[in-house]
Amino acid sequence: MLFGMLDEVFFYLGPIPVDHIIVTEWVIIALIALISYFATRDMQMIPRGLQNAFEMIIIWTYEFFTQLMDKEHVAKKWAPLLTGFFLFILLSNYSGLIPGAAHISGFQPPTSNWNVTMTLALITFFSVHIAGFSEHGIHYLGHFVSPSPLMLPLNLVEEIAHPLSLTVRLFGNIFGEEMVIAFLLFLAPFIVPGAIMGLSLLLGAIQAIVFTILSASYIAAATGEGH
């Protein structure tokens, strides 16, 4: 009824409608939480098994984002957010490959809905400016008038273009891929969509990486010394 999206609503939590994709998000978060919980449930001084793998991943994210951002304390501060982006987008993309997804009304990957990608992009947008202010204080505003005040409009356009490009890139890729698979399933329901599905495994990972690395580089630009 609201905004004409009754068919996508799964159930109502009081007056608040809960869409199918929101439930998918919950499942994704529950999965990540479950794995993390079991990995760090019984922390040992000498790591073994799942804890060891998990520690390696976490340390790897620190090192990766430190390389990307040049500043270790910034990387350590924002690594959880960026890792969250990566895991959330990756699992969202892959949720579209579960049999039954994409053509059942409502059961779609959350990232093929641009309300979701826009929310993620807005979180990046705010994080970038929070990172900038927390690193440089009020001097961060000088970032917008560099190299000269004449560039202010262009800089503002750039700031708005960043989240917009993040939104549309992720949404377009995943939505397009889902559409392609759906049409191929309709046209040739054996083997042929399989190839596209194999490709979309790659695509899902690439989009998750691209979103994460772009967010990291925006944060790096805001916290860097380049202004």
Binding site: L2, F3, G4, M5, E8, P17, V18, D19, I21, I22, E25, W26, I28, I29, I32, A33, S36, A39, T40, M43, M45, F54, E55, I58, I59, A79, P80, T83, G84, L87, F88, P99, G100, A102, H103, I104, P110, N113, N115, V116, M118, T119, L120, L122, I123, F175, M179, I181, A182, F183, L185, F186, P189, F190, I191, V192, P193, G194, M197, G198
Partner: protein
């Protein structure tokens, strides 16, 4: 080896084809009508709100179950390693000190031993000299004593010989004279004889 590799690759390819085919079949099971391809509505505040809340929950989960415990563990491990290294350094210094002490102790003992040996050698040397000196003195004494005794004995023997000779002479003279001689004669004769004999004897 190469043939085996080709075999594995073929099996892998076939498996993947069947898995993908099965998956696409499963997906196609519900796709009976042509997808409409409509894009989702933009600006659904409920989806935006839920997604924001969900992502914050995900962040909280990541902090609670991944980053915080692992950071704490890394911190703890760092402090443990640091303290272990510091402890090892301390122990090393202590061992070095003990080694030096032991070495100095050893040198001290060696020096003392040498001193003791030197002292003992000196004492032995002194004792030897003393003993030799004493022995020499004793030998001297014994020699002197013996010499004196020898002298006395010689004198005595000489006297005895003189007496015996005198007696013999008297007996011989008596025999020659055929009578006893008076004391006066006796004395004169003996004296003469002894003087002569003594000259001969000695």
């Amino acid at each position: 080896m190469l043939r085996k590799k080709g075999f594995y690759i073929a099996v892998l390819l076939l498996t993947s084809v069947f898995v993908l085919g099965f998956a696409s079949l499963c997906m196609a099971a519900g796709a009976v009508e042509q997808p409409s391809g409509h894009t989702p509505e933009f600006g659904n505040v409920y989806v935006i709100g839920w997604t924001a809340v969900n992502f914050l929950i995900l962040l909280a989960v990541l902090y609670k179950f991944a980053y915080n415990p692992i950071n704490a563990m890394l911190e703890q491990r760092t402090t443990t390693i640091e303290s272990s290294l510091r402890h090892a350094e301390e122990v090393k210094i202590e061992v070095e000190q003990m080694r030096k002490e032991a070495q100095s102790n050893l040198a001290e003992s060696r020096r003392e031993a040498q001193e003791i040996v030197a002292r003992a050698t000196k004492a032995a040397e002194e004792a030897k000299n003393e003993i030799i000196t004493k022995a020499k003195e004793e030998a001297e004494q014994i020699k002197a004593k013996t010499e004196a005794e020898l002298k006395v004995a010689t004198e005595q023997a000489k006297m005895e010989l003189k007496d015996t000779a005198a007696t013999l002479a008297i007996m011989a003279a008596e025999k020659v004279l055929g009578r006893a001689i008076t004391d006066e004669d006796h004395k004169r004769l003996v004296k003469d004889f002894v003087n002569e004999a003594g000259d001969l004897l000695c």
